[in-house]
Symmetry: C2
Subunit: 423 residues, 2 copies
């Protein structure tokens, strides 16, 4: 059977004829089956399917174009294959934070996976609402440490690594999309770019004229294109995570490929920084979101520090059967081992800041914005938040090699968070 786009009706027929799915729902399928389309993302159709005996799952189907733009921007539906492969691989490495895949149909570009029931919500929506998630840093640091460490040459042999790299080269269309929207469009006049007019007109122009910034962006882009460091999620913003007080689930890895680790860590931290700067736009008084802003900063700090600790712990645990990058015999002396680990984490930290800044910039002057900022109704207030975020982002891209610790980054974030014109 070839590809056909499903709607709510044809989806039911598809489920009926797919035993691995219908068996999840129990008997008497026709009666009491609830199917709801909930895709609010930019790219795909997503259905929640719930049976009347408690069985449930989510069906995600990729269409051969970008949903939020339409058929005028074609996009290979093969992305579903890479998403399914990554969900399964990352799920195997970190089952506690990745939804289980029940079924994958490559010709149909269709994935059935665990339904993350309420009260799970998209992390970004929780951050807009000002909700704290005390375990977020703990969970996300675990997810990133495990998925990145175990797919890198710190754990894998060159043979396994190159074979996986070759497979994921096939996800080139999604890499091209990232290259365009993250590393190219914001730095030129581009059709789909937009920003808060007229307040940010000068900011957008300044970005197009900032030679030092464009130099750094070029180097980050080359690293994105050339460096096959680990199987990265590829789109790890706060809209790719669902949370409750106790649960953190990472999904939507359709941009996954072997790329630089800092692109994932930076995407997550960069989106937390955007959430931070957006808070003043959601508050009516500076005091209103004050505690929540402190929690975001604490979460940024803990996410990085816990990630670093857990990553190094995995490295230590796996030292003797470690991957081809650092043969145990050569790096056996404790001081040397510590030295190479420190250097590795320092470089990853700098990559994280560079990619994190790039991801922030593109969310303010590029094609796809974030709800954190878009939901601020007052344009001038929104522009103030965005301007601060842009200033921080440009600075950490350009000055990233001067930062040694996440505390220095927090200090810089606070420094740019000046009282706004409306206060």
């Amino acid at each position: 059977m070839g590809f056909h786009a499903l709607d709510e009706k044809s989806l039911v027929r598809y489920i009926e004829s797919t035993p691995s799915l219908s068996s999840l729902l129990g008997h008497r399928l026709h009666e009491g089956l609830s199917v709801k389309e909930v895709g609010d993302g930019n790219l795909n159709f997503v259905y929640i399917v719930v049976g009347d005996q408690g069985g449930s799952f989510v069906i995600k189907q990729a269409l051969p174009y970008i949903r939020c733009i339409g058929e005028s921007w074609p996009m290979t539906k093969e992305r579903a294959y890479f998403e399914a492969m990554t969900l399964m691989k990352h799920g195997q490495l970190c089952p506690e934070h990745v939804p289980e895949v029940y079924h994958f149909d490559r010709p149909m570009a269709l994935i059935a996976m665990r339904y993350l029931k309420p009260p799970h919500i998209i992390l970004r929506k929780g951050l807009v609402a000002g909700v704290e998630y005390p375990l977020l840093a703990e969970h996300m640091s675990t997810y990133m440490a495990k998925t990145l460490f175990y797919t890198s040459l710190l754990y894998l042999s060159t043979t396994d690594h190159k074979s996986a790299v070759a497979d994921f080269c096939g996800n080139v269309e999604m890499c091209r999309l990232t290259e365009q929207v993250v590393f190219s469009d914001p730095y030129k006049i581009a059709k789909y770019n937009h920003w808060t007019c007229p307040y940010l007109d000068r900011d957008a122009e300044a970005i197009r004229e900032d030679y030092q910034l464009k130099q750094e962006i070029a180097e980050l882009k080359s690293m994105f294109c050339e460096r096959a460091q680990a199987l990265i999620h590829g789109d790890l913003h706060t809209g790719s995570v669902m949370v409750t007080a106790n649960s953190t689930q990472v999904f939507d890895p359709e941009f996954a490929f072997y790329g630089p680790m800092g692109f994932d860590v930076g995407a997550f931290l960069g989106n937390l920084i955007l959430a931070f700067y957006a808070q003043d736009g959601h508050a009516n008084t500076r005091i209103e979101r004050h505690e929540f802003k402190k929690w975001i900063l604490k979460t940024i700090k803990e996410t990085w520090n816990l990630f670093q600790d857990k990553f190094i712990d995995l490295w230590k645990e796996n030292w003797d059967r470690c991957g081809d990058a650092y043969p145990a015999e050569i790096y056996s002396k404790p001081e040397l081992r510590q030295q190479v680990q420190q250097k590795y984490m320092q470089e990853l930290f700098h990559d994280t800041l560079g990619f994190g800044g790039a991801k922030m910039i593109r969310r303010i002057v590029g094609v796809a914005h974030v709800e954190d900022l878009e939901s601020i109704q007052d344009a001038e207030k929104r522009a103030d938040c965005e301007h601060q975020a842009l200033e921080l982002a440009k600075m950490i891209v350009k000055e990233r090699f001067n930062f040694q610790t996440i505390d220095e980054v927090l200090a810089a974030i606070i420094e740019k968070n000046v009282p706004t014109s409306l206060e």
Copy 2:
């Protein structure tokens, strides 16, 4: 037909039954056909085939193990496929310096290519004999600039680049071999390591104990494994080049894959530096090879400078249809363009020094040595040359980021070339 190793007799039958080869030799094949096995390399069998009507070619067959070690070190014969693909690709980009491929038989791991007739000799043998090649820098800089530029993202689209990267991930066995002999074995006690005993015992030990060096080697190794910058030759030492006064031909790219450009440029320059330090071992007086040493230094300098100029010229020529790394619209301003090009070349220079130094070290304390040094009969004299080369190599690996120009490298080379104990 499956694989079978040829000998001189079965080779003639193979040629007879292969029209693309027999047609090169003309009629009356049986009579006057000269077949000579000349493989002096580490890995393969090589036959020169000459007909009595002037037709000729070389047949190279890969065997499923490493020739110089024997069947105890198996090695995939698929390397012949990657060699043939690279000869054809590099030959298309730079036909003046790559021998033409007439025929490729993948199951037989067999390549037929142009016979580089006398007076062509292996460059390394010319350097041992003290012969100057006035066009060497000109030719090698052209070869490296063209093959590296046109296979990088400075020229290619991401789509073409990722597809080629994926193909060459298949040459993983050869990458593993490089990782082992260049980046691992010299830094530990390893079965096949050897050096000029007892004179270099302390030098070899010092390398195994040099934490800073091992740190840098780890980073170079990661770059070798992870960074798919261009289709590199992968083994570009002076034994992979044949020369006459007017001709320079690069062959044997069986280690080719998408890797860091500096690995090729560094291999070539590093081997020229080894040739330089070997000269005092071939001279009976310090004056004897004095002029030749000056020529080697001049060639090192010109090779880098011409390479840099030609590489940037190709970049400028191809600016408007340039690859995905630096979109013309974003980097259109002349000052910015110059700035990104300078930065690119500076990083490539530092990579070149790092890989060049690593390639020198492995030729002195690793498994495979070079004739430049091995042909020095007097062990103490040889050890003096090797010690100087090692000191320079360790220094440029560790201090490479402090070098700005090739002149500074030449000064460092000369500084380490102290009068030896025998003078």
